[in-house]
């Protein structure tokens, strides 16, 4: 229960940052996708129905503060969770560098998923948006070890105090 609260708090914080402060981070029109990092974390460390629900909920909340296509990020984040879950069953993913690689791979996967969905439903995909998504994913991958570390520490504390 406390872990759920930790993930929810991190998710709310990530969305708040993405809609306010990170807008001013000078990396062109790209934006570090912190919610994606959380979904990858769930896929690696919370391989349960709760983890899937968490990824879906995070995507849904991003949908509420992003664009007009409801369900797009919910689908993408659930797909990211699934992708990471399946990958982690076949590959040994542990440590800073592998976290960076898996988050970047997840960003590419998410971008492709969204591109596919947009092509299927609205046909309004632009090259600039794909570029921004990939760039945002790269920045997210760079900060992933920090976020993972913070989540690990907070989760451990939450478990210890339980």
């Amino acid at each position: 229960m406390r872990i759920t609260f930790v993930i929810l708090a991190f998710g709310a914080g990530a969305i708040l940052l993405q809609t306010t402060l990170l807008h001013f981070v000078p990396i062109g029109s790209a934006m570090p996708d912190l919610v994606l990092v959380l979904c990858v974390y769930l896929g690696l460390h919370h391989q349960s129905v709760g983890g899937v629900l968490g990824a879906f909920s995070l995507g849904y909340f991003v949908d509420l503060f992003s664009g007009t296509d409801l369900g797009l990020n919910a689908f993408a984040m659930t797909s990211v969770f699934l992708m990471v879950y399946l990958l982690s069953r076949r590959l040994w993913i542990e440590g800073g560098l592998s976290n960076v690689v898996i988050v970047f791979a997840a960003a590419v996967g998410k971008t492709l998923t969204i591109a596919g969905l947009l092509a299927l439903f609205s046909g309004t995909l632009t090259a600039a948006s794909v570029r921004d998504d990939i760039l945002g994913g790269a920045v997210a991958a760079a900060v992933a070890p920090l976020v993972f570390g913070a989540l690990d520490r907070t989760s451990r504390r939450a478990r210890a105090s339980h």
Binding site: T19, M31, G67, N73, D132, D133
Partner: protein, 307 residues
């Protein structure tokens, strides 16, 4: 069956949620209004947090600016440091007030041009992803903002409100890929649809032979029922006539710097209240911040209507 579900619970639940997400996207694509029962609740819940972060950001920015100014003053005259520091601080404050006045005077002028009742709003949030172009305003239903209202600044059209809660509203910018505005070329009255493309826009469905030139002003036609007629959308940056096809490819550069938006006006319908007098050029407004400046600089009925 139960064993199967237990063994593959993650895969089954993922599949179910992917299906639900697909249904959400599909339902959202078919209907004009978004199907999001939680949206209003969440928007209202996160509104105070966004407002707080925005104010803290502004405060830190002011402190940093003040620090930079102070460093400059110290280097400039060691002997008159205290005096210059005070004067510099005063100058900075007055410059800020003047800049706020200038922006607000332009907003008031725009109110006269538009001829509709308008409410001023502050930008408190931006889109959560880099792919889409939306902003969040600090005005909602309790201020008269409704879904579908036009959002304007003196430089031109910003976008329209697509979701509104009691205290906040979200705006789809004209540079978003899902945005479409009925527009005309001001010079030749050629009509088309302005659609967003992230940083720029496209003017679509303009026939091959139509008279469109680089530098032409693109304005709203007023036919879409959202935007008032004749408000600037941008300038034609590029005109290409493909070898095949019925239409020209026209790139429009919006005049509005969407990344630098601070205050906007939102149409709330109906005739404007009171006489829209020309605001006086005031330099002696005692406080910073556009919310507090308006009533204090004596803009009269127009200022009260805006504030």
């Amino acid at each position: 069956m139960i064993d199967f579900l237990r063994r593959y619970q993650v895969l089954v639940s993922s599949g179910t949620l992917l299906l639900i997400a697909t249904m959400l996207i599909s339902a959202n694509t078919r209907r004009e209004e978004r199907v999001d029962p939680l949206a209003r609740l969440v928007l209202d819940a996160i509104y105070p947090l966004q407002l707080a972060v925005n104010q803290v950001t502004g405060g830190v920015s002011d402190i940093w600016q003040g620090y930079v100014d102070l460093v400059g003053a110290r280097a400039e005259a060691e002997a008159l440091r205290a005096h210059v520091g005070v004067l510099k601080g005063e100058l900075t404050r007055l410059a800020e007030v003047e800049a706020a006045n200038r922006r607000l005077r332009q907003l008031l002028k725009l109110r006269r041009v538009v001829g509709e009742r308008l409410v001023a709003a502050r930008v408190i949030g931006w889109d959560a992803s880099a792919r889409d172009r939306t902003i969040t305003l600090d005005r909602g239903e309790q201020d008269g903002v409704v879904s579908g209202a036009a959002v304007l600044v003196p430089e031109g059209v910003v976008g329209h409100v697509f979701r509104v809660s009691r205290r906040a509203a979200r705006v789809l910018l004209i540079s978003d890929r899902n945005s479409g505005v009925d527009a005309i070329i001001q010079r030749s009255r050629v009509r088309g649809i302005v659609q967003g493309r992230q940083e720029t826009c496209d003017l679509k469905y303009v026939k091959r032979g139509a008279d469109v030139r680089q530098g032409d002003h693109v304005v709203t036609s007023g036919l879409d029922g959202i935007f008032p007629k004749g408000v600037l959308l941008g300038d034609v940056a590029q005109v290409k006539t493909p070898e095949l096809g019925m239409f020209q490819t026209i790139v429009v550069l919006p005049r509005v710097a969407f990344d630098q938006l601070e205050e906007v006006l939102v149409t709330t319908g109906g005739e404007p209240e009171g006489p829209a007098e020309e605001p006086p050029a005031s330099r002696d407004a005692p406080k910073l911040g556009w919310h507090s400046v308006l009533p204090e600089v004596g803009y009269g009925a127009a200022a009260r209507a805006l504030a």
